[in-house]
Symmetry: D3
Subunit: 144 residues, 6 copies
């Protein structure tokens, strides 16, 4: 995880940096509001990435933002195993991610599939999301 605290980059600059970092392979990019010295509202940039992408992402951070130094930390991870299945909703097909960890099983419809179905059908995102979940058999196999 790469962290940088910024008090002299604008929101516009940071929005562009997020776009660049995601395009370059960052797994996740986020901003945390921060109160810095001299009454400055700042932002903490956090980038999660594979070790192999670190150098490429550092170059973007140093080029696009005003930071002069970043901190890099390692963490253990606990992850759920995932599998992707497709379900058929009245608004079109939607992939649903089913995840397991020990006894826990849960499902979450893919955002981009739901978004496109909602736009196409003129219904709310929530409606498509619910519709996909209703058609997902969490315990057994998914109904395709």
């Amino acid at each position: 995880m790469i962290h940088a605290s910024l008090d002299d980059s604008t929101g516009e600059i940071l929005g562009f940096a997020m776009e660049q970092l995601l395009d370059a392979g960052a797994l996740d990019v986020s901003f945390i509001p921060l109160y810095m010295k001299k009454n400055r509202p700042g932002v903490k940039l956090e980038v999660i990435c594979n070790r192999s992408d670190e150098k490429k992402l550092l170059e973007i951070i140093f080029r696009e933002t005003t930071t002069l130094g970043v901190r890099i930390t390692e963490a253990r991870r606990a992850v759920m195993t995932r599998e992707l299945r497709k379900v058929h909703t009245p608004f079109g097909p939607v992939r649903v991610k089913r995840a397991h960890w020990q006894g826990v099983v849960k499902a979450s419809p893919e955002y981009e599939d739901c978004r496109q179905a909602a736009l196409r059908a003129g219904v709310s995102l929530q409606t498509v999301y619910q519709s996909a979940l209703t058609r997902t058999d969490i315990e057994g196999e998914m109904t395709e």
Copy 2:
């Protein structure tokens, strides 16, 4: 109250703007973290002021920040009446603000007095603050 939402001013610029606004008579200046479009972390600037200072403060906002337009709202106010008394602590004299509203009475030591006493005596701000409160007779008169 003057409000502006900003996505292209830096924290440094905003810290300086706060300093300018307070020097020019703003009663209160604050920043609220804001999520704006295109993944931009932004800031909402809020300035509380007397009507007569509005033009002067707008000039600072337009000059120092990148905003192109602000919103101005009016509000009713409910305020406690206040009186300032001095109490003697082991760390030196501290003014205490005593406030009333209907049946409610409360007291708060002046920050700058406590800060200077703490720095002078090498004790924590909290210690001076407590010491001043202990010497404040909230219900009756303050013990001077």
Copy 3:
């Protein structure tokens, strides 16, 4: 809506104030993180209430927090009409709020019902919530 900006109340004090305000009839209470002068992280307290409860709530705000003055604003409201129906889930009965506004219809299960069902059945809140929604007929009548 009653607003107060606070830089000298603690989180503990504010959590207690929220509890008191809700018990005294506030419709909604929320805190917004705020950056105030002299590098102080502060909090904006916002209370939504009926006009008739204003005096009682002001008394709590002035008594429990350190604020010396609040701002009160009025707003027009646009609200959805609501009706409450009960559905039967495998985890017990859950009331679902169905709301309308012009052509829009939507449903949301009652939090406290879902919470109790989840605790009783040892399943996740999300599972109960989904289960209740699946049994809700948004367009026509709810299936009881």
Copy 4:
């Protein structure tokens, strides 16, 4: 300005709502982090719009989010007059917005022009932005 406080919409739902609101003509959409009752992290949605778009935007808010009621407030506005000019940078042409209010004059390069020039030239957004500002004659006419 339309406000809604939300504790039961997800970030995904809200990101989609912002997209819909901007497409439907909202002048500005922002999210403010909010602490709500029962330990719930929530979000205040704020939408700035022309009066004529209000009904259309309310429909999106009620359809896409979980809110059951919104507050609508009016505000006076103070705005700078603006004019758009084009400047030629080594990275291509960029439009610069020049703004006036009383004695205050300032300039800001258009984000989308800078973004495209930066991506095309492989330089940082900041580099294009600076380059455009350097070529902008704030006091007199812009150098075209």
Copy 5:
């Protein structure tokens, strides 16, 4: 410390998760507002716990929230030693925690004791808190 960044859990879900985590032995649970990709307001969940409770808490996080993976980090700790004493206030007995670290000594009244005394006596939490502190002998023994 267990961390998860969430953009598809609601505030209601997260409030319930906090309750579950604290009941299951988490030492501390907090939420940090986060700006995630695609204009999503998100939340970082942070849980502090003993190593022995980790598995039980992970199960709650995976079951109740939408996260598919968490990060776990270790930290050195520096802690003050604490001792709990009781003081008698006009509002009833209150336990006060006295803490030491090297030369530093400080005291803080127990929140739940103060809360109950304030509710019983109909005074502000701050009043009870002050009253307990005034009766606490920080340097020597507490006055019982």
Copy 6:
């Protein structure tokens, strides 16, 4: 990096603690808004420092804030090399920090120099900042 999560220190106390920590050699101090249990808005204090200053800073944190325990983490760092040069603007001399990392080069004018020049000349901070950057030769030597 030293971290502490606080729910019973006020903004005034924290602003004073930041001042003390910076005076005692902390490299950076920041506050992050945090949602803690029992509906408490809290603050995470983060202090970046050299290992040799750790004990001195811990003493300030324990003395000035209410925390009873902090967490200390280590991180790898990636830093740009920096050199400071002076440029002459119409508003007076300004030092500009030029930074390198691999192929990346960038420049940022010193805040305090710009601030004083802006106050002296009665122009905006942004104007001085731009003026200094325009006179900075990023690729080659700075024009003195």
